[in-house]
Amino acid sequence: MVESIILIPFIAGWIVFFLPKTTGRRILVITGVIHLLLSVLLWIKRPTAILAAYFAVSPEGLLSLSVISLLFFLISIYSTAYLKAAEIQSENIFTGSMLLFLSTMTMVTLSDHIMVMWIAIEATTLASAPLIYTYRTSESLEATWKYVLICSVGIAMALLGSVLITVAMDTGKVNAPVSFSGLTAVAKSLDPQWLKAGFVFILVGYGTKMGLAPMHTWLPDAHSEAPSPASALLSGVLLNCAYLGIFKTNKIMHAAGLGDFSGSILMIFGLISMLAAATFILKQTEYKRLLAYSSIENMGIIAFGTGIGGIGVYGAMICLIHHSLIKSSLFLTSGNILQGYRCKIIQNIGGLVYRMPRTFIAFFAGFVAISGFPPFGMFIGEMFIVMGAFRNGHHVGAIIFMGTICIIFAGLANQIMSISFEDSKRKHRMHMVGKMLWPQYVLLLTSVVFSFWMPDTLYMTIVEAITSIGGGV
């Protein structure tokens, strides 16, 4: 049952390669629905996997899986309309790769074995590479090349880190399964030196994929060149998958009593990412790259929150969920803007509020949400992180954190206002199909709902996930 969630999109993906275009679009949505239903079933039953040595349902995995499922379902609906409007040369490759990408990401969330986790994360890189090269331009080619090379080399570091953790087992004379749950149970007897080395390599490796500075260089290129539904998936869920790898390793570190070590490294990487994003957002000229840098900022926020511990980890998890919802809606909306103006440069775009009023609502609401204003959930998450930072005595970190958030808000506001209200030559209203609007509305609405009312099971699952890495409310 657990494995079937991985297998269904995998099989569907390969089938779609050989089917006509319109059938492919339909299969995309149908698989999305099935995937969503199966994830809901996992919440209800929490079954054990048939290959229990490799796969398991963990609370943090379940959270990520549900976000993936919901996002993919909405993005697949958007995609059907998007694909109709955009001229894409080989659409089958696009839809097929989307499904394979879904399958590999699901595998990441469910894997328990350290090496299987690595295999799955590397597989996400490979499955998503054709998505970035969809438009067959020289820029998209460059972005794909950078993406595959930087991520593969980066993730090779994570493989080395995983191997070093097994060396820590040998040196500590531990005999246990090489799974995250197994290692967490025997963490105390692992050799601390090798474990630390392994964690650093894993953080650098999966951090490359997560978009932590200074390993983030592939991210803006890939996100800006990919078609919008693919960028929404990349930013909304792929980054979470890489974070999951770091989260689970951090669990072992905490169980081994090395939580301070891993926490301080995470905090430093988090702050560097936020500062890097702030410098690039201020002088950004393309709106999709703007959103990509904002993703780097948010990954920095999440890494920082995870590093602080205590209530900060809870904040980081809230940010993780809401960032996925909000950023994917923003990327989908950027697809609408691209269709309306046929241009990626901010300067050439203006008057969004007159030309595409319904798109404007989604775009502006998304901007308010991602900047951390209520009633959206990012606000709550960032509040908890700041509180946690002060409570645990990281005053300097908290001040840098708040300062960069303000700078980024100023930079974003400047650009978004110019897109929305500046005078433009193209003033006449443009019609947008409903399928390219309501998925964004649903995503933003979900974020609002979850910030006012959180179901008890969801809350309990988050708490269950974070207590193992020193978090708590």
């Binding site: 597989a123 080619l141 460059e142 950078k146 090379l149 080399v153 090779a156 191997v163 790259r289």
Partner: protein, 213 residues
């Protein structure tokens, strides 16, 4: 059983120096094929008792690392008839000198690490370190896209050596999954390379400079 292992590891070290000094792609690919074969047969000479499945797995690894992957890249460059130079950023003589320095440094630091299986051969740890760092060096010091892919493969060889020799608990099915991933990565890179050649009429990565900031 100890001496053949030392010979094999010295050959691997030599292959790194050769790869630093090769100025033409076909030569570099041949060196990497040789290195792939050498590295994948190391487990056979570790002195453990091997079951049939383990020997079979080693042979499969050898075929993929030593034959399939290099052939895949070789075909890619033949098909598009690229320029054969590796376009170095750091010159060949300097590269070889750096390689020698790297080997000395690795030999100097490796006794400081506490690894249980290090006693099998004193060359084991230095070789893996030089493979890892050397792969990265090629990634940085060569502008040609294919040379960069070969640098990535060298790094992977190093990781394979760490995985199979230092830790005895490697599961073959997992190892095989990793191998498949690497193979697929190299194939995708080869496809991108062909497209780079078609679009830019060159494989100099310095041309890939439009996307910034």
């Amino acid at each position: 059983m100890i001496e053949p292992l030392d010979t094999i590891l010295s050959l691997a070290l030599l292959s790194i120096l050769f790869s630093f000094g090769s100025s033409f792609l076909p030569g570099l690919i041949k060196v990497m094929a040789f290195q792939g074969i050498i590295v994948s047969i190391v487990p056979l000479f570790m002195g453990h008792d091997l079951s049939t499945s383990e020997i079979l797995f080693t042979l499969v690894t050898m075929t993929i690392r030593g034959i399939v992957i290099p052939l895949c890249i070789y075909k890619a460059i033949k098909k598009v008839a690229v320029r054969r130079e590796v376009q170095p950023i750091i010159g060949f003589n300097a590269s070889i000198l750096i390689g020698l320095g790297l080997i000395i440094a690795a030999a100097y630091v490796s006794p400081k690490f506490d690894v249980p299986s290090i006693s099998i051969s004193s060359l084991l740890l230095p070789t893996t370190i030089v493979l890892l760092v050397g792969g990265m060096f090629i990634l940085i010091a060569r502008r040609n896209a294919i040379a960069m892919v070969l640098g990535y493969i060298m790094m992977e060889n190093g990781i394979y050596l760490v995985g199979t020799t230092f830790s005895v608990r490697a599961l073959h099915i997992v190892e095989f999954g990793i191998l498949l991933d690497v193979l697929a990565a190299v194939m995708i890179m080869a496809i991108i390379l062909q497209n780079i050649k078609k679009t830019f009429d060159n494989m100099d990565t310095a041309l890939l400079r439009t996307l910034k900031e």
